[in-house]
């Protein structure tokens, strides 16, 4: 049974305030996944401690990096059940895992961070791994664009 919407609201906002688009319905998921060009990251959010202490703050930290995906979205496992099921349906060979993070390039899954690679770590470690993926797959920011603020993964809590 889903938790109270009031309880999970801050868990949603922790990502949406960092520019993550929430996918609340299967149609939202289909729209997000149907755009295949470029890079996209999909976060499976959850109410568990791994999401609170590591995944969400790790994603927030990583998204401050100069290289970042073109599109970032989330579904909320245990809350938005149909949207989450639809999202998982795009990766039929990968066991359900929450929290987890999928990264696609031109519509192909190129990286996946399941729950067991989040639990037992800290937000900085999660962020570092994501930023390495961003650097490998995401286009460098335009030279003329404003430089992103420096990322201090050692000391930031990013809330």
């Amino acid at each position: 049974m889903p938790y109270s919407p009031l309880l999970v609201k801050p868990m949603r906002e922790e990502l949406t305030s960092a520019g993550v688009k929430e996918l609340l319905s299967p149609l939202d998921v289909d729209a997000f996944m149907s755009e295949r060009s470029g890079t996209a990251m999909l976060v499976v959010n959850s109410v568990c401690g791994c999401a609170a202490g590591m995944a969400r703050p790790g994603v927030r930290l990583a998204l401050r990096h100069a290289h970042r995906p073109d599109r970032v979205a989330s579904v909320f496992a245990g809350q938005d059940l149909e949207a989450t099921a639809r999202a998982r349906g795009y990766f039929p060979d990968i066991p359900p895992s929450s929290p987890s993070i999928a990264f696609m390039k031109d519509g192909e899954l190129v990286y996946f961070m399941p729950r067991h690679r989040i639990e037992g770590r800290d937000a900085e470690a999660v962020a570092r791994e994501l930023m390495a993926v961003f650097e490998e797959h995401c286009a460098a920011p335009e030279a003329a664009a404003s430089p992103a603020p420096p990322v201090n993964v050692a000391g930031s809590t990013a809330h």
Partner: protein, 90 residues
Amino acid sequence: MGTFHRNKSALHGITVVVDTTGPEVFVGRCDDEDERGIVLDDADVHRDGDGGRSKQQYVERAARFGVWKKHDRLFIPRERVASVRRLGEV
């Protein structure tokens, strides 16, 4: 850092690989362990050679993507346990 609950072992909430002295290897979320054995939630089990995969090959794939649970809850007696590792460290 695990998920700390009172009266639970340090691995509580952590996904672990439990290799046995026999052909099976288990992957699941540790609920607790003590001198009697280890309790896993949402666990999968693989027998060496099943599907043409060795224990090691199974664990390597599990480390990349996770596992499909076959059991909601499992108890593995201590005498069968050869090693316990965090899946995230494989």
